[in-house]
Amino acid sequence: MMESLTSSLQRVFGFSTFRTGQVEALTALEQGQDTLAILPTGAGKTLIYQLYGYRHAGCVLVISPLLSLMNDQVARMRVNGFRRSAAITSLTSYVERQEILRHLGDYQFLFLSPEMLAQPQMLAQIQQLQLSLLVIDEAHCIVQWGPDFRPEYLLLGAIRTKLHQPLTLMLTATAGKTTRHEIAKQLRTTPQVISESVNRPNIFLDVENVADEPEKQARLKSLVGQLQQPGVVYFSSKQQATDTALWLHQETGVRAAAYHAGLDSEDRFKIQQQFMAGQLDVICATSAFGMGIDKNNVRYVIHYHLPADLESYAQEIGRAGRDGNPSVAILLYAPGDEQLPLALGQSNRPDETTIQRYYAHPQQFSAEDPVIQLLAFYRQHGISEAAVTQMFTGRERERNRALAQMMAYARETHCLRERWLAAFDEQSPEHTVACCSPVNVPLDLTALNLKREQRATTAEPQREDWITRLQQLF
């Protein structure tokens, strides 16, 4: 007889109890049920497929959205003792890819991007494997990114059929009813849903209005100067993240660094490790930051730009307070901020005339244009002009609805938490002063106990010379 889940947990990880949601998801999987697990950031979603992979022969295939982070995921698997792990992405060198493919059958955990899995040769190779489990990580991306950003996500259902409907685990931190329904529909399954409340009672919610960009910067500086550290500030632009990190350091003396997908892997590694080691006070990040950062004591998350929807917002503020201690999520809003997500949403969306003209004369369009690439993808997959037009119209409606929901949060005057949780079809606990401060209520950091004690500025300790520092390494 197979050992109990708890014995496996003890044996592999040395823990004696599961966190909420883990055991329910594992139990459903053990019963052969496709499972959609909606568990908050930090709940230990990775452990679910690690443990399942440990208990069952064959390969766990993980479909993961962020190319730049897949290698980090593999590194984390290895540190956890799962050495037979590998990732293949478009960034994997030819030599390395060949090497992995030669030993494909030896891997216990294989990470692929949807684009990689959609390639016919790759799919043929994967079909040869004995899959114990298919994992769709960050499954909300199917809905968020699929139609107008990474259409390969929409092939996952068909691919799953070609792989003979393997047992499937869908993971996400946030998914309202619509998203859940869409994930299940796309993957052609009726999963058992394991969901924990997305609410994080220890994160105080705050929205603040500012008049314009200079006032927003000033407010950011003031907050970063007062708040308990460490913290994360999210931006929609890499350049602004980089510039602000430098500016905050110069203006307030905090140890700040930028983190975004444009960094090379060495810088990304160093900044992550510095943050984990407590050598940074604040990270100025884009949405690339977060997935897989196991840092428990983040005290604040500030959004400098308006996210496109509440699901992204919930994901990102979820980095705060994973240790359960008081933390705060602050959204800075200036009139017109909704224009940026609106423009980003439009930029990759063909209008009706373009679709019409493209379907009439596809060869007349430049394949360099990402919008044309998108249309070419649909055309090659036999999707009709009418269906594509309808899809993009529906997509735009959906985006606008999501943005309107985000805006409603920004403008909320009664209870932010209620507004937030309603988007995930959850009831909010009774509103109290300890819950949130909507736009019309000032933020009181002292009452929240989140004000940093201003230590008398001590001179930085004299740095030791390089020889001493080098010797300390060894």
Binding site: K270, L470, F474
Partner: protein, 350 residues
């Protein structure tokens, strides 16, 4: 490269082409890039910034022009330092110490191997086995793994520290500081280049130059067979001439005519010429068979019509008789020969 850094690859007298500098940094090894890279004495920077975007130097260039530090010709390609630009050059800007070796070393591979070897040894010295290794390619991980399994033991950490200190003591102390800051090891994530640049109040490019020195100095010292990094770094010394050009050069040295060599090597006649020009530019002084390919009488023909200002020479402006007798290949080869300071009367141009 920021605007400041660009100043240091320009000249007050010699107009330099922006496109050549960009292609050199990006590692586009055309004969034209190599030739002009040599004329500008910038060849060591070949491949120094592989990820530079096309056109990325235009921004810094425009900034320098706006400040009156350089002039840019109407075609937006030729750059020249103004006297204000010349005066702006600072004595404290970093001047590399080891650049004559840069072409002969696979610097990027050496850097990756050094960093990972230090991390692995540092963690081992502190008895930690669960840590995140630096993200490197499969080949680097492999070679480090096998190196580590052969050398691990109580002496490794101390031996490595001693060797690195010895190497970096030969460089400016600030370079040693920078190198130490960049390392990753036990309880020491290491700083990024940008962070070091901001601490040291230098440009990121200067930090890169220091890093090239730091790595090259260690690779030099690791040529000793008893150096702890010998097995890792010694194999990374190589000729800058591509394998294919080396093979062409060898075949020519064996006495084949250019056409015979082309047939024998299954390449076009023009490719043979390109290979030879590449080899002529990148070979150590005295190692290229100039006398065989460019005999004295050919040199005399060119010498009769060309002045000492090599950069002003243009093939199209040669007398027609000469252009009929010799194609561009000989003209270019002669320019390389002269440019490398060789003359028939034993008096060098320089």
């Amino acid at each position: 490269m920021e605007a400041t850094d660009l100043l240091y690859v320009l000249d007050r007298q010699q107009p330099r082409r922006l496109r050549v500098i960009e292609n050199l940094l990006r590692g586009r090894r055309t004969v034209s890039t190599l030739y002009w890279g040599q004329r500008y004495q910038l060849l060591p920077l070949l491949d120094a910034d592989k990820h530079l975007d096309r056109g990325a130097l235009m921004g810094p260039t425009k900034a320098l022009v706006a400040e009156g530090l350089v002039t840019l010709d109407p075609e937006e390609d030729q750059l020249l330092l103004t006297s204000a630009g010349q005066q702006k050059l600072s004595v404290t800007y970093y001047r590399p110490q080891t650049s004559e070796d840069w072409l002969n070393l696979d610097l990027e591979a050496a850097r990756q191997r050094l960093l990972l070897a230090v991390q692995v040894t540092s963690q081992y010295a502190h008895s930690t086995s669960r840590y995140y290794p630096l993200a490197t390619d499969l080949a680097t991980r492999r070679v480090i793994r096998s190196w580590f399994h052969r050398l691990k033991g109580p002496q490794l950490a101390a031996a490595l520290a001693t060797a690195m200190i010895h190497s970096w003591q030969q460089l400016p102390v600030q370079t040693a500081e920078v190198m130490t800051d960049l390392l990753t090891g036990y309880q020491h994530p290491g700083l990024t280049v940008d962070q070091v640049a901001s601490d040291q109040q230098q440009t990121a490019w200067e930090i890169q130059l220091r890093q090239r020195d730091g790595v090259t100095q260690i690779a030099r010292d690791a040529q000793q067979a008893d150096h702890p990094l010998h097995a890792l770094l010694h194999p990374l010394w190589r000729s800058p001439i591509t394998r294919s050009a080396q093979a062409t050069l060898y075949a020519v040295e064996q006495g084949g005519s250019l056409d015979q060599v082309a047939m024998q090597r299954h390449v076009k006649a023009n490719t043979v010429k390109e290979h030879l020009l590449e080899a002529a530019i990148l070979s150590p002084t005295g190692a290229f068979p100039f006398d065989q390919l460019l005999p004295a009488h050919v040199r005399a023909d060119f010498a009769a019509v060309l002045n000492a200002d090599i950069d002003s020479w243009q093939f199209a402006q040669l007398p027609e008789a000469l252009r009929t007798r010799y194609d561009f290949f000989y003209f270019r080869l002669y320019a390389i020969w002269r440019g490398r300071g060789m003359t028939d009367d034993g008096v060098t141009d320089k």
